[in-house]
């Protein structure tokens, strides 16, 4: 901020000050975002049950977590539900994206809008409306109902991810395959699918995470037998603090970091 420079270019100085202020603000925002998570992870190793005072380092809560039957059972449920929902979402989403790219459909715009509805619709409305649908269809709530619900909000995310990748794909690729005598199905399987792999994988990861984290829609569509992990955590957290939950949260946070880094890596691969 030397005086002559400020005289000649008064604005850049102002802008620099503004930049500095924005940077400080952003740092505060990151602090706000990360301090609670850090506290949680830190306390998951604290011997104290009361959480506030640091008494010593322990793995006790992690050990207890591994011996907690409801948590393990609901974790198993969540993994099964997320896995099946992800497979369904990948199949529906990838073929849907490809077909919408490959063919010009009448009312393609309406279809595209409809696909976006489950992504932006309030979760609670989706939950209640699916619950009523299952009642009307007299479908007993259980694993099937949760999986149907989860697939419905997961597949649009896969579809959109694949669509973004398709936009950058050379259309000549498929034509070349067809000219060389491949059937459309073989061309799709041998040429298009390998090109789409990074987008499909990141879409699948997204679907899996969304399904693992989903609370509201599951709340309305599970049965006691198909209870998911987030519902179990919600029930435990309502009662108050529980050091086992700290440990579980720490595991969640670490998994999320790994997931984000991996998707980032995929994106870089795809960009190459």
């Amino acid at each position: 901020m030397s005086e002559p420079a400020a005289k000649r270019f008064p604005l850049p100085t102002g802008l620099r000050l503004l930049e500095w202020g924005l940077g400080a603000w952003t740092a505060l925002v990151f602090l706000f975002l990360y301090v609670p998570i850090a506290v949680l992870v830190g306390y998951s190793f604290n011997t104290s049950k009361l959480n506030v005072v640091w008494q010593g380092f322990t793995f006790r809560w992690y050990r207890e977590l591994l011996g907690n039957e409801p948590i393990l059972r609901t974790l198993g449920n969540s993994l099964v539900i997320a896995a099946v929902a992800t497979v369904l979402a990948v199949v529906i989403g990838t073929t849907g994206a490809w077909l919408l790219h490959r063919f010009r459909y009448r009312c393609a715009r309406a279809i595209q809008t409809l696909i976006c509805v489950p992504m932006i619709m309030p979760e609670i409305v989706m939950g209640v409306s699916l619950l009523i649908l299952f009642r009307v269809a007299s479908l007993e709530l259980g694993f099937a109902s949760v999986i149907l619900a989860h697939t419905t909000f997961c597949f649009p995310f896969v579809l959109v991810a694949v669509q973004a990748r398709l936009q950058g794909l050379d259309p000549a690729l498929e034509e070349a395959a067809l000219d060389l005598g491949a059937t459309p199905l073989r061309a799709f399987w041998l040429v298009i699918v390998p090109c789409l792999r990074p987008a499909v994988i990141s879409g699948a990861l997204m679907a899996f995470t969304l399904s693992m984290d989903e609370l509201i829609i599951s709340f309305f569509t599970v049965s006691p037998a198909s209870r998911t992990l987030p519902l179990q955590v919600f029930g435990m957290a309502k009662v108050g603090l529980n050091p086992m939950l700290n440990a579980l949260s720490a595991i969640f946070v670490v998994t999320t970091v790994a997931f984000v880094l991996f998707t980032e890596h995929l994106k870089r691969l795809a960009a190459r």
Binding site: L22, Y34, L100, R102, R135
Partner: protein, 293 residues
């Protein structure tokens, strides 16, 4: 959020859909019809039904459920939900806009790192993140312990299970959903335009309101939609952070379904909520068109 409506996937090589093309697309269309369109239609039908003493749904045409939504008790809860969600949205814009803007203006290497730092909380389960605040806010929690140790307060503050806690929880859960879309549109914005505004003599305020806001409006609008609407119906955060004290529309819907077993009334609340969502969407679109004009 990268997953918002993609720009039209115009493929110049696309062919008119053959019957085969329609057959192949049919499973997805049927899925959407069965699990998106049909439930919403049934929801509307149910909202006009009533229920008998055993909780069974009786199919008659009545406006009673809607009359009850606009009854004083529920209107108050609805207004409170919208108020809390609006406050959350305002705080998220105030905190998230400068951050999203700042991140977008960094050199690519720094920018990607900072973006990664937003993605981690974005993808971390909101349940876990809400739970983290319980440890901080409860009366023998970290914040109170710190304040007591620093002798700022003589006795622990009642923080958890208050409206303030609910808003903190909501802001914490939804802030990344504001930063990412703002970043998305700020990143596309040409810096030269902002500098041109300055060169042409616009003060920072004018440059902000007449150049920056209109050009980043799509991002702000997407962020508002991603924060405001879910925040209205979010019963989990109000349950965890507000105890049973702060009832919001989501809690009412949940109670009507599982405790009062009044599905028609829950359906009416759901329909009103959906209309609220559509209205805010249209309002944002309209504001966007005006800003561009």
């Amino acid at each position: 959020m990268q997953a918002l409506p993609a720009a039209d996937a115009e493929n110049p090589h696309a062919r008119r859909a053959t019957p085969m093309g329609w057959w192949l697309l049919a499973p997805m269309l049927i899925w959407l019809a069965l699990f998106v369109v049909a439930p919403l239609l049934i929801l509307v039908v149910y909202s006009f039904c009533s229920r008998d003493d055993l909780g069974r749904v009786v199919f008659d045409f009545t406006w009673t459920n809607y009359a009850r939504v606009f009854d004083e008790t529920y209107l108050k809860i609805l207004a409170r939900s919208v108020g809390y969600a609006a406050l959350t949205t305002v705080i998220c814009v105030a905190a998230g806009f400068p951050a999203g803007w700042y991140i977008a203006r960094r050199p690519p290497a720094v920018r990607d790192r900072l973006l990664l730092l937003v993605m981690i909380p974005f993808w971390t389960s909101f349940l876990i993140r809400t739970y983290a605040w319980i440890a901080i806010l409860k009366s023998e929690g970290l914040l109170n312990a710190t304040l007591l140790a620093a002798r700022v307060v003589p006795q622990p503050l009642e923080l958890l299970y208050t409206p303030v806690a609910v808003v903190i929880g909501l802001v914490y859960a939804y802030l990344p959903f504001m930063i990412l879309p703002v970043y998305g549109s700020a990143e596309k914005l040409d810096n030269a335009l902002v500098e041109a505004a300055h060169d042409l003599g616009a003060g920072p305020l004018r440059a902000f309101s007449e150049v920056i806001i209109p050009l980043t409006w799509p991002g702000i609008a997407a962020g508002v939609l991603l924060v405001f609407v879910p925040a209205i119906g979010m019963f989990a955060i109000t349950d965890l952070m507000g105890g049973a004290k702060v009832a919001m529309i989501g809690n009412v819907i949940q109670n009507q379904v599982f405790k009062a077993r009044n599905l028609p009334f829950a359906a009416a609340l759901g329909v009103v909520f959906t209309l609220l969502f559509v209205a805010s969407y249209l309002a944002l679109q309209w504001r966007g068109r005006r800003a561009r004009a």
